[in-house]
Amino acid sequence: MKSLNSLAIHNLKNNSKKTIPTIISIILTSTLLISIGLAVSTWQKARIEDATHFNGDYHVMFLGLTSTQKDTLEKDPNINKIDLMQEVESIYTEDLTINIYTSLMDYQNYIDLATGKFPTNEKEIIISSNLAKRKNYKLNDYINTYKIVGIYNKNKIISNVDYASETAFISGTNNNSYYAFIHYKNLHNIYDKIYDTADKLGLDYEVNKVGRNYENTYINSSLLNAYGKYENKINELQMYSLISLILYILALFCALAIYNSFTISLQERKKQISILSSIGASKKQIFKMLMLEVFLLTLISLPIALLLSLGIVQSIIILINNSLHNLVNYKLSINIVFLLISILFIFLTVFISSMVPALEISGSSLINSIKNVKIKTKKLKENYPFIRKCFGSEGEVAYKNIKRNRRKFITSITALTISLILFITLSSVINYFINATNSMKLANDIRINLPDKNQVVDNEEVLNEIRAITEEEELVISKQAHFFNENKQIVQLVSLDPFNYNKYKRQIKVSNDEAIIYNVGNFLNENDEEITKEVIDSSKTKSLSICFIDYTTNELYPCYINLNNLYFTTQNYLDVFNGLTYVVSIDTFNQVVDNYLSGYANNQNFKNNYSIIINSNRFRELDKEINDIINKYSHVDIYYENNALINYNNNHTLLIIKLILYIVIFLIAFTSILNIFNVLNTSMELRSSEFSILRSIGMSEKGLKKMIKLESLMLMGNTLIYGIPLSLGIVYLIKYILNIDVTNKIIFKFPTIYVIISIIGIILIILLIMTYSINKLKKKNIIETIREDGI
């Protein structure tokens, strides 16, 4: 045994050329698997960091707890850590409320400090940068009796839900109720543990779609989801079944590649192995020797594969990071568990896939008996006139050969079918993601809102600044107010600046002073697809009406505008409007605000709120200029959104993601072709002596061609017949899994292109192999080919 092992090592050294295909396929498949492991662990880590960054690293938060409930929590054996927080007071200023909280916990985990330090006692306070900006607070200023010691960018404790309130923190304790941020010891059955804790606290719940919705409870589900924990069992099942399906397909893919290359390398060493067995090596010994060889090959391949995958994943990460500018910053994460799983997976795949050819060549009695049984003494008709007519007598030989030698034939078909399935499935799934990225479109403009809340500066002044930087651009300045019509549909009342108003009128051919009604709304049809249709019946609506809703009584307060000349249009003006919009002159707008709305809300605010839309190719330069204006008027609350820039960045990223996905499709196609080529080539090679015998008893080259042609046709036909429906089935299955319990259902599209590509691909490859092997046979001497196999 020892000597055979050293023979295995000796073999590797001397036959390094013959082991190259095996090494390459092991390296390629290992690289694929490790890269996937690295990419998944990097992505998961980024998700976890993202979730932690935005929501904090706690698992669940309870609010409004009494001190008895707090004690209950401390007795919960599942809980690892509890961070407690309490309300202090609210300070009301003229336009906003400052809610102050206190805690003894380590704020570092929850608050991103911008400047200063965290509070250390109940007299020190940390406030948000937003509040500092709005109220012009600086470090060491005082809010009532609290001294500002720090300013933070973002807190993960209290999310700011409304514009009129801000959050600040001090340190210490008081007698108020508690907010408790809970970390459990582990994430096993985490949702059950949370339910259990909430039950112990005596909290009520409602059952909703995904699970239980407890009162005063906030589950940090984005963090838990990032760890692969879903409240909805279906979601979890969906994720894991998708992962296993993909792993399964990948494993098959890799196993096939390794099986092929190992078979080829063994084919070349058939002679050597039979000599070994003739001098007395047992089948078991030969088998062990071959497996040792594979093991050593894998050991050699792994470090190379590891380096390759690190390089690939790192470059993809750099590519994505660069293209996303500052939006995300992925970092390569080498998760040992993932790595070990990948390596284990590689060993398993390599062993299983090389075992079959090793058993076969070592002449294991098991495999032999299978082999012998499989060439069936099938009763076949003497003659097949139809086949003889089409393909000649050679065709008949081929047909009988296939009928009797189903095992070999089925092996080839299986290999071809798997490659086909892989190609169609993976490309369709990837294609789905590519399409998904295509549909992520945003409006392509720059929007600025100038609200008027007791502003120190006249909005006109800011407007003039904006006008100055956009002299060359398309600029729409409008005033907008939102109301309802009699059917409680939301109505946008808009006045455009005179220039744009007149232009719009010209565009839709309105000459009088009419009210233009942009009568378009987006609705969902019965298939949950968004459709665009007219909102109101233009033949029935005779006068313009807008209403207020008193939310306390839910009553409508109508106020009619004296305009009977209504003009309905579906033609948008520079994509300014969304939904049902009444476009009126500035006078009408002011008239409505002044006369009809006095007494409701702060009508002055409506009147002086400006909405500005800029369409420009200079979006990057404008971004800087607009930000300068915003900084100049930092005390004015200017809302600014540069969709053009976001779109530009997104498109850039999408382009790169698409590129990567197309590269993946290409790699899959390439490997599939290689696989198919190997399978066919091996099966042709194995039969070359049979072909030569036929030649020697008088089959002409033409006849041989005919015979191989028929066999190829049968292969092609069978592969397509099995492969395409199976692939479509798997594609449907994946869509089905992805669609379970998801509101945005994926609409299945028949992967026409990929089906066509694969049909053409299969035909081309088979034709190629046919010509290739026929040419190879031509070159060879008949008698030599026969001899090679006879030894």
């Binding site: 003494t377 007598s393 008088g698 006879g790």
Partner: protein, 230 residues
């Protein structure tokens, strides 16, 4: 009557320093109805000669005439036709098609020739070769001797002008070997079938009507026996 004639056959393998002369200017004539045994030590060039005579290997120089046709001037189609009509080859390792059963293997040359089988002749052959109850078996279900008998039947089925057998008994035990050679002898007499058989067993060569001895790619002895000993 002269049926096969080989003139100045040369066959070399390799080049320059490694050149091997398998056949050295070998000439030979075979008459119809002869049962020729070619004997010689291993590596003397027997197989090379037989393959060249059978149209499956090409001589480096020289000509082979079968029924006065120079076979190596034919194109592939015609040479293939000649192989299946005029020549029957029998190998040491039987070389049957594993997926065809006995009947189909035997009829294969006819099938390739798109000729109908002469059932009488077929039955006669399988009776002679004692294969009648093996017709639906596949090659791997047969013993070595049986497989070789199938090989012989396949070689005979087309009434070839000449049968070439390269150590047809090389892989068989003594009893089976004797049986095969006796069969060849019987067929030779019954159908006046020309047969060339390579063997290194002088006991088997005795059944032939002519023994050609080759050494080092050359004929060193050529004896005709009119009365064969049993």
């Amino acid at each position: 009557m002269e049926i096969l004639k080989a003139c100045n056959l040369m066959k070399t393998y390799g080049e320059d320093n490694n050149i091997v002369y398998a056949l050295k200017d070998l000439s030979l004539t075979i008459n119809k109805g002869e049962f020729v045994a070619i004997v010689g030590s291993s590596g003397s060039g027997k197989s090379t000669l037989l393959h060249i005579l059978g149209g499956v290997d090409k001589p480096t120089s020289g000509n082979v005439y079968l029924n006065e046709k120079d076979i190596y001037t034919l194109n592939d189609d015609d040479l293939s036709k000649l192989r299946r009509k005029e020549i029957g080859l029998i190998y040491q390792f039987y070389n049957l098609i594993p997926t065809l059963n006995v009947r189909e293997n035997i009829k294969l040359p006819l099938l390739l020739d798109k000729k109908e089988v002469d059932e009488n002749y077929f039955n006669e052959l399988i009776n002679l070769l004692n294969l009648s109850n093996r017709l639906t078996h596949l090659p791997n279900e047969l013993s070595g001797g049986e497989q070789q008998r199938v090989g012989i039947a396949r070689a005979f089925i087309n009434h070839p002008s000449i049968i070439l057998a390269d150590e047809p008994t090389g892989n068989l035990d003594k009893a089976n070997s004797l049986e095969i050679v006796k069969l060849l002898n019987e067929a030779n007499k019954k159908y006046n079938q020309t047969i060339i058989m390579v063997t290194h067993d002088l006991n088997l060569a005795k059944y032939a009507s002519r023994i050609i001895t080759i050494s080092d790619g050359q004929i060193i002895d050529d004896k005709v026996y009119n009365e064969k000993s049993e």
